[in-house]
Symmetry: C2
Subunit: 224 residues, 2 copies
């Protein structure tokens, strides 16, 4: 009788939207968005892919759902500190979350149909900026500047073929010799210099955010 007991037990846990979305998110985290198929999600839950359609309308709905979960992981901008500190903390959290779920960056179409976590997040950010005296136009501009930088940084980071200086060094060893000094002299030289100085892409994020916060303070905050 105990034959297949475990499988049956696993099955007994009733399926629901939350379990489906969590399974999908784990699959995407592990294998990227191309591994996220309805069939894989079903398998992870001990169920056929067709069963999922009772809990999500279709794959698009599933993607919207997991993108909103990712959004919910981003720290809301703290209150009780200056707008700069608050925006800085939020930006760092956002990049961290996107680095953890790199597949999510390419799924921004979902923002056309924002989920509840997304809306709440937007409202909080705008609240902090408005509370610090930004006009609606200035708050929008500041928000857009920060998010453009954050998403663009994350987008590039997600597709970087190296992370650690060691990986960069390895990549440099194989790539740099292929860059002819006549055709790509600057690329070659900069590549050599970066490898030699142990460049770490991730360290570039905070100086960039500070530069942008500076500009916002200086040019955006009290405008219109």
């Amino acid at each position: 009788m105990p034959t297949g007991a475990k499988r049956t037990a696993t099955r007994r846990l009733p399926l629901n939207r939350g379990r489906v979305l969590r399974a999908a998110l784990e699959i995407a985290d592990k294998g990227g968005s191309e591994s996220l198929t309805m069939s894989n999600v079903g398998q992870k839950l001990g169920v056929e892919s067709m069963s999922l359609y009772r809990h999500v309308r279709n794959k698009e709905d599933l993607l919207d759902g997991i993108v909103d979960i990712v959004y919910s992981e981003i720290e809301l901008p703290p209150s009780g500190v200056s707008w700069r500190t608050s925006m800085r903390r939020r930006a760092i959290s956002a990049r961290e979350v996107l680095a953890r779920h790199p597949w999510a960056i390419g799924l921004m179409e979902s923002l056309t149909r924002p989920g509840p976590a997304n809306l709440r997040h937007h409202d909080s950010v705008l609240g902090v900026l408005r509370g610090a005296g930004f006009s609606s136009a200035a708050a929008t501009r500041a928000y857009n500047l920060l998010d453009s930088y954050i998403y663009g940084f994350a987008l590039q980071e997600a597709h970087l073929p190296f992370g650690t200086p060691e990986e960069l060094a390895e990549l440099g060893k194989s790539m740099i010799p292929q860059l002819s000094s006549e055709e790509f002299p600057f690329l070659r030289q900069v590549g050599i210099d970066l490898v030699q100085s142990g460049f770490v892409y991730a360290n570039e994020f905070e100086p960039g955010i500070d530069l942008i916060l500076d500009g916002i303070e200086r040019r955006v905050r009290l405008k219109s």
Copy 2:
């Protein structure tokens, strides 16, 4: 005899990589990346999808190819002007090209396997910055700041459900009433203000680039 003459004539044009890539690019421009299937590309060329494999290794190769074409459309940074002017012109061109080919932004994975246009572009940008006295580290930082902003801006622009103030107004009419004043007060207010003032997202790009160029001038150019 003239039966099918035209079709035959079209077929006579020998297939080659360039024709395949150009057809693929047109399809993506017209219908987005989800309409870009091997079958559609073949159809556009009067050929079965299997014939394409003589000219591209596989679909990934085809995507790499069209992304590099997109890259080639971005204006190289002009020389003979200040680094700021040069970077500004390049940035504006890059955003314009990405707005014309919004599907390309999600295909950045291809940057792991950069094509010739991509390499040439990188080399030119680094050349301008190095020529203006930027160290390798400073040039990398400046380049990364600009590109993060450009890509992030384009990524958001590509998924914006509105372009013109009229579209924004229409969207506002349908969305704003759904935002409860208790749950999303700031989002609601900012939405109302933006609609009322005729906000145009695209106009935000240049002030943002100028803010970043300012920061680079001030903080990055002469460092390390």
